[in-house]
């Protein structure tokens, strides 16, 4: 069976748990930015966590299913409508054949996750169906008229009594483990990073959470020989404004990394709208 895209909103992509293990070939990990929300949406429709969902951006999306299917929306809270009538967010919803499903604009946060029983069955690339916006691997971002194949449902939809509605914390707190290139910055730079108010820049995307605020000063000029990059790396380009790497980050880079935000803090970063205040908190020194 298939679902047909009527509107893809600002940006809607297919996402699963990504394709880790290929970074040595220049392949980003990719995958859902808010993995707990992706997993929850899958669980609500009886899918394993590896099933592909749709990740929306701010404005949601609208689709039509050619056959009846169970769906669920998690992540950024939003209005859910079936043929114009309100339906549940954060719970399994039965979509009749031919019905139009609207995932509305996010009322808080950035990214909602839409799971279909059976998962989105786009062709996998290197073991993953994720759209990677940096390297172009995986299915293209959704466009009106696209027909998405769905897989066979495997498990019963989950019964959930109460689903906590996630409220993105303000300010967004990002713990930092300093290194590996702290020594490329002035001695006061770590204190500037953890002592200043930053804000999420509107230029943030799946590659990185870009921040506006006091620039970090380099203690040395010159180029760092290109080196491997990790998820959550805080890379500092020449303008001094930190960028926290998210799932579609490049596998190598030549700008120094002052510290790393542990992966557990990144789902919240993925839901931080532009303008959200950000505080980096020291998580220790290795």
């Amino acid at each position: 069976m298939t679902v047909t895209v009527i509107s893809a909103g600002l940006l809607t992509t297919v996402q699963d748990l990504g394709r880790p293990g290929h970074a040595h070939l220049g392949v980003p990990r990719s995958g859902a930015l808010d993995q707990p929300a992706h997993r929850l949406a899958n669980r609500l429709v009886g899918n394993p966590a590896t099933a592909a969902t749709l990740e929306t951006t701010v404005l949601g999306c609208t689709l039509r299913a050619d056959r009846a299917v169970t769906v669920a929306v998690a992540g950024a809270p939003c209005a859910v409508r079936v043929d114009g009538r309100p339906a549940a967010w954060g719970a399994p919803v039965r979509l009749p054949a031919g019905a139009v499903l609207e995932v509305g604009p996010a009322t808080r946060g950035v990214r909602s996750y839409l799971a279909f029983a059976g998962g989105v069955a786009a062709d996998p690339v290197l073991g993953s169906r994720s759209t990677d916006l940096l390297s172009g691997l995986g299915p293209a971002p959704l466009a009106p008229g696209d027909a998405l194949p769905l897989g066979e449902p495997v498990g019963p939809a989950a019964g959930v009594d109460v689903l906590p509605v996630p409220a993105p914390p303000e300010p967004l707190l990002l713990p930092v483990l300093f290194g590996p290139r702290e020594d490329w910055f002035t001695a006061r730079s770590p204190a500037v990073l953890t002592g200043s108010d930053y804000r999420v820049s509107p230029t943030s995307n799946r590659i990185g959470l870009r921040l506006e605020g006091p620039p970090l000063e380099r203690a040395r000029d010159g180029e760092l020989p290109s080196e491997g990059m990790v998820l959550g790396a805080i890379q500092v380009p020449p303008d001094g404004r930190p960028v926290v790497f998210l799932a579609d980050h490049p596998t190598t880079g030549g700008y120094p990394v002052i510290g790393v935000v542990p992966a557990a803090a990144l789902p919240a970063a993925a839901q931080a709208v532009p303008g959200t205040p950000v505080r980096f908190t020291p998580a220790g020194r290795r």
């Binding site: 040595h24 070939l25 220049g26 020989p225 491997g228 990790v230």
Partner: protein, 223 residues
């Protein structure tokens, strides 16, 4: 700051590389070597040890210019303590993956490269195709390999103004590296030729023709 952050320089003994182990977040280690050749040898030794049982679980091993990143390490403290004691034998070539790639040396920058090298234009193809290369690392795009092998005197700068579109299959030079564009993309490398070989195909096993450690020869294909 603990010992891990400062890193540990070891070496001097035979086969013991001078290396620094830098902590990267909760579960990654960045191993920094003294130079590109040392990084290649360390990566080869790492791959050899990973192939035998008992090596700790690691999600990603990412070689780069002077470093090898180990990400998703099950016990980073133990591995960080162990790495400086490694003996790294000189690179051996037996058992390496080898590929030969046909090239038409008709790139737009052959004349400029010849001038930089101080040789006649036709010598560019001869010198380049007589060199044995090794894929040192990948990056920039899936399947884009950075190949070493040319002597230091053939180092060339990037183009002052990058091209908006370099065609797929372009063979190009920058710094000490030779690269091959797996697909059309912007690029600032000096173009010396073109291959019809498929450099990257995610539906193929292996997806990348050039993966780190692969030995590469370029063979002149007359146009």
């Amino acid at each position: 700051m603990s010992a891990g952050a400062d890193g540990r320089r070891t070496g001097r003994g035979s086969g013991r590389p001078r290396l620094r182990v830098l902590r990267v977040g909760p579960d990654a280690l960045l191993v920094e070597l003294d130079g590109a050749d040392q990084a290649i040898a360390f990566h080869a030794e790492l791959q050899r040890r990973r192939a035998v049982s008992g090596f700790p679980s690691v999600t990603e091993v990412v070689p780069a210019e002077h470093t090898v990143l180990l990400d998703g390490v099950s016990d980073p403290d133990a591995l960080a303590a162990e790495l400086p004691g490694w003996r790294v034998p000189p690179l051996r070539t037996a058992g390496d993956q080898r590929v030969t790639v046909p090239v038409r040396y008709d790139g737009a920058d052959v004349a400029e490269v010849a001038a930089l090298w101080g040789v006649a234009e036709r010598e560019v193809a001869r010198i380049h195709s007589a060199t044995e290369f090794r894929v040192a690392f990948s990056g920039f795009a899936p399947g884009f390999g950075y190949l070493t092998g040319l002597p230091e005197r053939y180092r060339v700068p990037r183009r002052a103004v990058p091209r908006r579109a370099v065609p797929a299959g372009a063979i190009a030079l920058a710094g000490r590296y030779t690269g091959a564009y797996p697909r059309s993309s912007p690029g600032g490398w000096q173009l010396i030729g073109h291959t019809d070989a498929v450099l990257w195909d995610p539906s193929r096993e292996p997806a990348a023709l050039f993966s780190p450690g692969t030995r590469v020869r370029f063979a002149i294909e007359e146009s």
